[in-house]
Amino acid sequence: MFFGQLVIAGLLTGSVYSMIGVGFTLVLGVGKIANFAHGSFVGVGLYFALFMWQKAGLNPYEALVPGLLAFILIGWAVAELFEWRGRKIGEIGELLVGLALLLTIGGLLEVLYTDNPRSFEAPSLGGVSVFGATVPWTEIIAAIFTLALAAATYFFVRLSRWGRAMRAVAENATAAGLYGVRAPITQRAAVTASIAIAGVSGMFIAPFTVMTPDAGTSYLISAFAVVIIGGIGRTMGAVAAGLAIGVVEALTGGYLSSVWTTLAPLLVILGFLLVRPEAGVAK
């Protein structure tokens, strides 16, 4: 029973990691930008959902369409910013922009909402009993969204023309350009998409997450972990890695003594890297 509860909890937490990781691996692998602010956009999504609930009475699912549009716009603006200052100047430029965005968004959220942890539950869908614990429907929906997102991304990249263009650009931008693929647009689209995904992810997890303005940093670190194991640019790898990390965390938290609760997931990651040194190669 207890073990089952832990595994379910781990899978649900893991799907949140996967969700964030899919977006991050996209911006890193195809957009070719290490966007330090990726986690912050998840935070923006969280607070956007809170805002829509408090001011407009819309729960996150109802606010999804306006949210998606808003995040696509924001994503495009940020992609332009990175393009202008990052790509041409060099990687210091893009790291600086990413860091600046991380700090700015965190500061903005702190001003608007202060550091008090917030939460809200909408819609109240109740839950389903599994292994003696009640699993809220909102969490299950978020997990389903993750899988749908990953599947959509995977098939898009694999099968559609745009997707193949993205893969070509990811492998060798210059060569792709010679074949008529417009690399800059493709990369910009990838950055935009990743931010849109991040924002929408934040909205999906809002009903069951306690939010603070510094959420951006902790989500960033989770995103890093997922990408290390899953591989840069690998969508399915991100999903598997996120779920694995979630389950390991839950199991160690459930059974082991305090010291190991933090260490175990990190050791797993390190161990994984040592065993598979070619990990992280873009697909």
Binding site: Q5, L6, D115, R118, P136, T209, G253, S258, T261
Partner: protein
């Protein structure tokens, strides 16, 4: 030649930037027109102001403590000034100058140094123990008293710095208080041979608190069936809650930060059902829990503060409370009263010492008391006073339980305290 010239320019730039540090640093320290030490004794300036430095976190994660603390301190200063200021120093008015440590241990020394440089008479504040531990080195050297209003590490006063005063209960006192409460609760609810499951935050706060609690439980009154820590950065408490629930203990006890208690309460009410009769979320902020979870948090026990309607409220409490609400549009919390009492302590010390000199104030702080109507907002204890080891002889400790979506006092059993109900999560 050009090379040399521009590189010499670099040297100039570097020196200028450092000099800018001087003016910038100077900028940070202006505004404190305090009565300087010693001279203000006899007679003193007629319409002077005395500046107190508040070194605490106004931004960052700990600002949820620091900002209310400042608000409470402000109310105290307003009351004292309205009553005529520090009479023994010619009616000098109190003024509070803020030094923001930004929830960053790096800033403890820096802000304490700025405060001392601004010639404040005394320091109070500090939410994070590390900040207080770093900054008190500076004030101890300068001979200036510091009343710690938030850092609970025993180390703060155990280091033996004579100028450091523990203005709220420290880890040991808090642990003993919880110990006493659990004993009371077990008897009330008829639990024989109580078993306890403990989860604690692996930060220094959680670990120290656990140690102190175990020390208080030295003749084991409760059997600890499960005790485990979780990382400070935990945001998802599912496994913590599952583990606590599966332990089948009578009593669930969490030693963590406010967000931890809030989340665990949510988990227990929505996901993991427990047979425990008592759920203690120490460290949780009852205002946030009630406002965000309402009736779902029924049965949760948390630390409490004096609130309207509580039996035995002292004179002056209601007025201070209303002033606070009017000025800041929100309820005061534990840190608000912590700041409030700190300012009253310092005012009393200034009155007694008739001076703003550090050593005189430090000596006076050991002698003054706060009574009902004169700076003590708590029904119990009746008198607040610092003991020999610079901690409060008796520290206030209240417990609330959420019943029907509202907080009610359940301990200490002052007349009219509500009856304790078993947890039904």
């Amino acid at each position: 030649m050009k090379h040399r010239r521009s590189l010499a320019g670099l040297a100039a730039v570097g020196a200028i930037v450092l000099a800018a540090c001087a003016s910038g640093g100077g900028g940070a320290s202006t505004g404190g027109n305090a009565g300087t030490g010693g001279g203000a004794a006899a007679g003193g300036s007629t319409s002077g102001t005395i500046t107190l430095g508040e070194v605490t976190d106004f931004t960052g994660v700990a600002s949820t403590y620091g900002v209310p603390e400042n608000q409470g301190a402000q109310i105290a200063a307003d009351e004292i000034n309205a009553a005529g200021g520090i009479k023994s120093l010619g009616g000098a008015k109190l003024q509070i100058q803020k030094f923001d440590t930004q929830s960053n241990p790096d800033q403890g020394v820096t802000q304490a140094t700025a405060a001392v440089a601004a010639k404040i008479a005394a320091v109070f504040g500090g939410e994070i123990s590390d900040t207080v531990l770093g900054g008190t080195n500076v004030t101890q050297r300068a001979g200036i008293p510091w009343i710690d209003t938030g850092g609970v590490a025993d180390e703060v006063h155990k280091r033996g710095y004579s100028t450091v005063f523990q203005g709220i209960e420290d880890n040991t006192q808090e642990a003993e208080s919880y110990h006493a409460f659990i004993g009371f609760a077990a008897k009330q609810l008829g639990i024989a041979d109580p078993t306890v499951a403990i989860s604690y935050s692996q930060a220094s706060y959680g670990q120290e608190f656990l140690q102190a609690w175990q020390a208080a439980n030295v003749n084991p009154t409760y059997k600890v069936v499960s005790s485990f820590g979780y990382p400070l950065t935990t945001t998802d408490f599912s496994s913590v809650a599952a583990r606590m629930a599966s332990s089948n203990a009578d009593i669930l006890f969490n030693m963590g930060y406010p967000a931890d208690g809030l989340e665990l309460t949510q988990e227990f009410s929505a996901k993991y059902h427990t047979s425990a009769k008592l759920w203690l979320a120490s460290g949780a902020n009852y205002v946030a829990v009630v406002s965000q979870l309402g009736a779902k948090s029924n049965g949760t026990i948390m630390g409490y503060v004096p609130a309207p309607g509580m039996p035995g409220l002292p004179a002056g409490f209601t007025q201070a409370y209303q002033e606070y609400k009017k000025k800041f549009n929100t309820d005061p919390n534990s840190q608000s009263w912590s700041g409030y009492t700190a300012v009253y302590f310092l005012a009393a010390a200034l009155e007694k010492a008739k001076s703003t000199a550090g050593p005189a104030l430090t000596a006076a702080l050991k002698q003054v008391t706060l009574t009902h109507g004169h700076g003590n907002p708590y029904p119990v204890p009746a008198v607040l006073k610092f003991g020999q080891d610079n901690t409060l002889v008796e520290a206030p400790g209240y417990y609330t339980q959420v019943q029907n979506g509202a907080s009610v006092l359940v301990y200490p059993s002052i007349a009219d305290a509500a009856k304790l109900l078993p947890y039904a999560g």
